[in-house]
Each structure stands twice: as structure tokens, then as C-alpha cells.
Amino acid sequence: MEFNLSAGAFAAEQKFMPLDGKTVYDVMILGGGPAGLTAAVYCMRKGVSTAMIVKRVGGQVAETSGIENYMGYRYINGMELAEKFREQVLQFGIAYEEGPGVRSVEQGAVKKIALDDGRTFSARTIIVATGKSWRKLDVPGEDEFLGKGVAYCATCDAPFFAGKDVIVAGGGNSGVEAAIDLAKIARKVILVQFLDNLTADRVLVDGLGRFGNVEILLGHEIKAITGDSAVRAVSAADRKTGVRREIAADGIFIEIGLVPNTSPFRGVVDLNDAGEILIDCACKTSAPGIFAAGDVTSVPFKQIIIAGGEGAKAALSACEYLLRDAAR
């Protein structure tokens, strides 16, 4: 039996403090993935007063089973790496809180950060490192059947589809990985891909090809998810002919990539066409004193090691800004 223990979460020597609504922090870091946590270490070492609001430690890293391209570790499990990052942050007396979501941010010499739970905090600079979350299909039935056949996490929910017919939406890496997980236990897996080819890595596509119970439907767009108390069918249209077909299924796993978590920052910082926060090579956004790092930004290639490096850069830029600000 495996135990995915987050040892760091329980460390006795944690020094972090609760966030204080009356303090004006030098830096407020939003997000606790590799970018945010690296930024925190840099800020604390620089000696600026730092606060950090984290929705989920590790972000996408914590959901990844195995990581083989983060230097220093030939192989490490995602949860373990995330915990190591966090441990390195919590040795400092940083103001730290886990759980709450950010509602909005107000620009100014002192910036205001409003949380979903109604509290407000202030800081001279902000580092946005809120990452990305699952992209939705945006079709009828998707919200209605969430948890009743509509799923986004194959490792979490695959066991409920043993012996059943299930659809996977998406032919990228996450879609093909989900299809492989499901093919091991489901009766039948139908992978529906929008494009005319699978875009997943070759090793994954080859892996999927070894299963006899997988059907692949290319060039189709999912239009609706229907059912009664649970999902019963999915309607998909051929993108060339427009012909629609009903595919009977007990569930659908939606694995069509990610969207940046930028809703609290709309109208405050400029975004690109993909909805990512536009930054320059020093992690500056269009708003003075607001910096951004990691997957939420326009920087190409979403990788742990890149996000970490960007977090360091954003922290150093923020510290530089504070120095200049103080000199003025």
C-alpha cells in the first residue's frame, strides 16, 4: 500500500505567522505552486516583509504522479516535491495562509487584495503566481452532471467507471494518459479529439494503442452531455460534415488542457489572447508594482523548472521596485 504523506505540512518548526489586515506588506505573493514558493524564498532572503496566500500547495505539481525532469531528482513524486518547496518556505517567518481564494485586486501605491471570505490585505507590490486550472468544455450538461459522470481527475475518479463505457474528451497528453488509466478498468473507452490527430507524446499514443477496448474519434466536437440522474450519452459533431452522433456512455472525463487563473486581475493587468498575464522579461505586468510568474503568464513552456526560475525573477524585480520606490 502506498502512502502519499505530505511530511512538510506537519513540520514542528514552522515559523510562519497569520496574515494581518493592518500591515502593509512589501510583497504579497498569490499562489503556492513552484513560482509562488520560489518567489517567497527569494523575498524572505532579501529581507522584505512578505505575505503569501495559497489556495493549494504545489498547484499542478501536487497532482502529478512522477516528475523526471526537475534537476536534482531523477525521479520524485509530485506531492513530495511540492512539500519540499513548502518546507523551504516555512523555515522563514513569512505571513502565510492556505485555503482562501482571491476575489479582486485594486491597483495603487498601496495595493488592496480582497479575498472570497471578505477579508482585505494591503501590499506595496504583488506577485501573481496563481497558475492554471482545468479548462471546461462549456457545453450543456457539463455543470449539471459534475460528479454524476462528468469528471476532470482520472486518477481520482477512474475507479467508479470499472466495467463501464466512458468518453475521454481531449487528445493531448492529459487526455491520452486518462484514456490509458481508464482502459485498464473500463469496458470501453472512446477518446474524442477536436483536431484531426492526437497531439500527445509518441510514447503515450503508442501506450494507448496497446489496448483493445479503446476507440478514437478524431475531428469531432462535443456539443452536449445528457442523462437523467447521471450521464447517459454525449453528443459529438463531425467538424467537417457537421453530422452529429449520440454516443452512449456512463461518464466523460474532460482533459482538454488548462486555463490561466486570472479572473481577480481582469482590468488591472493586460492579458494576451490566451488569457495569460502579459509580462516582460523581468516579470513586470502592465501595472506598476504588480509582477507575475509561472503558468499564469505569457511565458512560453509550462514547466516546473521554468515556473521556479520565473518566480525567482519576479521576486527580484519586486525587490528592485521597492528599493526604487523608497528612493523616490
Binding site: 502512502f3 502519499n4 504523506l5 505530505s6 511530511a7 505540512a9 471570505d117 460528479g147 459522470g149 481520482c156
Partner: protein
């Protein structure tokens, strides 16, 4: 063979140094132990061996039915946590808390032992105001990284207010129960049979539902 390898065992015994007051694990099983009962039995044995402030009492679901009665344990394998006064916390784990769920188990032990951050005032007042009997069941799978926070939130509610009971239910061990509640994704949170939440939610979302009961 022990369930915990040396690395996990050392990490756990380090973490469990945070235990403050005595905690008693009540473990309910049956004479002819099912596979998961056996594993869960080893699990509680190995945990209890790690710290002198963790007590363990093992009961048989059939023979000790009367003793189990006050704890309302209705299926096995079951774990209940009692505080330093042997008072029932309302915290239950049905099925083995392995995989990611080890985290919610350890957190429950430490919080039951009296070491916990106080809730923000406004939240504490809302929790204290719950006067009805509330039964929260959080269905999980052991491979779900989002599940432990949902379980811990439910358990914390139980710890703060004795009108609230909170169960972790491992969906594949109690497949019929999972089917009864139409669980097809985890975490799925059932509150008093009548209300439900999909996914991991923060404490205010639990309270929003509880206040409507």
C-alpha cells in the same frame, strides 16, 4: 510485512511528536477479517506504536456490539478518535486512510490531541451556533489529492461542535454505500442524507449547507 517502510515510519514518528494530549484510536473490526480490515488493523497497530500518547482499543463488530453502540459505528473497518477524556470527537474513518488520505488521518490525530490553530472568530461563532444533529459523510478514493482537505474540514467541524459527526468513507471499500449516494466522483460530501456538495469545499461552504438544514 509492515505497511510503513522505514522512510514513511521515520517521517510519521517525527510528525507525531506534535501530539500533545492523549488520543485514543478505537478500531472496530470483525473476527474473520476482510482484506482491508487486516490492512487497517496493521495500520492502527503501526501508528499506535509510534507514539506513547496514542492509545489503541480494538473491538469486534459482533461480540462487542454493546460497547460500540454509543459510538454509532455501523460498518467495519472503522476508526473512531477519542480525546484525552475518552470523549467521542465524532471523527470516523470507514476504510483504511491510506494513499493521500494518510494526511487527513494524521491531521485528525494531531488536532484531537489539542494542537490546532484556532478558527477565525466569525467562523468559530458560526460553528458553535450549530444546534441540530449533523452527520457529514465524505466519500473519497485513496488516489485523490483533493480529498484530504475535504475530510479534514469535516473532521474539524466535528471536533469544534459535538452536535456534528463526520465520516471519511473509502468508496471502494463501501461500494454499496457509494452507489446508494450516487458517488461517481470524489470527494462527494453528503450532509444528513439530504444535502450534498461536489468536490473539496472550504468550511464556510459546509456551514452554508448546514445552516439550511
Amino acid at each position: 510485512m509492515p505497511l510503513f517502510d522505514d522512510k514513511v515510519k521515520n517521517q510519521l514518528s517525527d510528525i507525531l511528536k506534535n501530539i500533545r494530549d492523549k488520543v485514543t484510536i478505537v478500531y472496530a473490526t470483525q473476527e474473520f477479517e476482510c482484506n482491508t480490515c487486516r490492512d487497517t488493523h496493521s495500520f492502527v497497530d503501526e501508528i499506535a506504536a509510534l507514539n506513547p500518547n496514542i492509545g489503541l482499543e480494538v473491538y469486534d463488530f459482533v461480540k462487542d456490539r454493546q460497547k460500540l453502540e454509543p459510538w454509532k459505528i455501523d460498518k467495519v473497518p472503522a476508526i473512531a478518535l477519542l480525546d484525552k477524556d475518552r470523549s467521542d470527537t465524532g471523527i470516523r474513518f470507514y476504510g483504511i486512510p491510506g494513499g493521500y488520505e494518510i494526511n487527513s488521518f494524521i491531521q485528525a490525530l494531531i488536532e484531537t490531541s489539542g494542537r490546532r490553530e484556532p478558527l477565525p472568530d466569525a467562523l468559530a461563532q458560526r460553528v458553535a451556533a450549530v444546534k441540530k444533529d449533523v452527520h457529514i459523510q465524505v466519500f473519497i478514493s485513496l488516489t485523490c489529492p483533493y480529498c484530504p482537505p475535504a475530510v479534514s474540514t469535516a473532521h474539524r467541524l466535528a471536533l469544534e461542535n459535538r452536535n456534528i459527526r463526520a465520516d471519511m468513507v473509502e468508496s471502494t471499500t463501501f461500494i454499496h454505500l457509494a452507489q446508494k449516494y450516487g458517488v461517481q466522483g470524489v470527494p462527494r460530501i453528503i450532509i444528513n442524507e439530504t444535502h450534498s456538495l461536489e468536490g473539496a469545499h472550504p468550511m464556510p461552504a459546509f456551514l452554508d449547507v448546514i445552516e439550511k438544514l
